[in-house]
Subunit: 145 residues, 2 copies
């Protein structure tokens, strides 16, 4: 990721995360996440946001960190749909927050595309992990039948 | 979707689809789609592009058309990862193609967000269908064990 974008995301990370935590709560009602405790729900969301931001800080470790975290989300029964919608929302809030800054760059196509590429690569890792886990379960169950 | 965007996507649909068919072939190598015939592969991709464009034309029928089509993709064993990457590519090509047009609107944040919302809603429908199908398979197998 471009170093300037990296810096500005970090500068505004608290505003982005706070706004995201508000928006993502709206999806909880529609999903199968109503049975977990509020504390567990808030902690996992906050951890997710931290992981997303850590991928900005460190390009190299991105994939490994996200794979480990997605394994935990799968074990917790967090639905993929909640994750993909959450990532879409994170992208929107990041773009909206930064586009309010003065520099024209944060209103440009290049900026949009940098943010999109970042979130797309995370979506791809998570979709891969969830698909792989499901396929594995289906395969193991088939063997047992 | 905004009527002007709808019109311009339709005006450039052949260029968008042709470019998309070129780009998406690159993913085939990495996926489990190498065993199907080239004709089947090309036809399904083309049908997918047509369905995407039909969602532009008709907001109301969007969800039903996509649910039916995703059921077919699941039966054919098309991986979710291929679909989500395909949709990301479709969004990029649509934005790049239209941003070359003269009107400033096609370089604006509002335009980007309209295209993103369109593709996001399609991603959500497909992720839901794939997740539901997997969960159902796992459930049925569990019952049989």
């Amino acid at each position: 990721m471009d170093a300037n974008i990296r810096d500005i995301i970090f500068q505004y990370k608290d505003a982005i995360i706070d706004q995201w935590l508000v928006e993502i709560r709206k999806f909880r009602k529609e999903d199968s996440l109503q049975n977990i405790t509020d504390t567990m729900y808030e902690n996992t969301n906050r951890e997710f946001a931290d992981k997303l931001l850590s991928t900005v800080q460190n390009d190299n470790g991105e994939e490994e960190v996200l794979i480990l975290f997605s394994e935990r989300l799968i074990q917790l029964g967090w639905p993929l749909n909640y994750i993909t919608r959450g990532l879409q929302e994170f992208r929107k809030i990041t773009v909206t927050t930064l586009s309010k800054q003065e520099a024209d760059y944060y209103k440009s196509m290049e900026f949009f595309q940098e943010i999109e590429d970042w979130i797309d690569s995370i979506v791809n890792i998570l979709v891969n992990e969830y698909s792989g886990s499901w396929e594995n379960t289906v395969f193991l169950q088939k063997m047992a039948l």
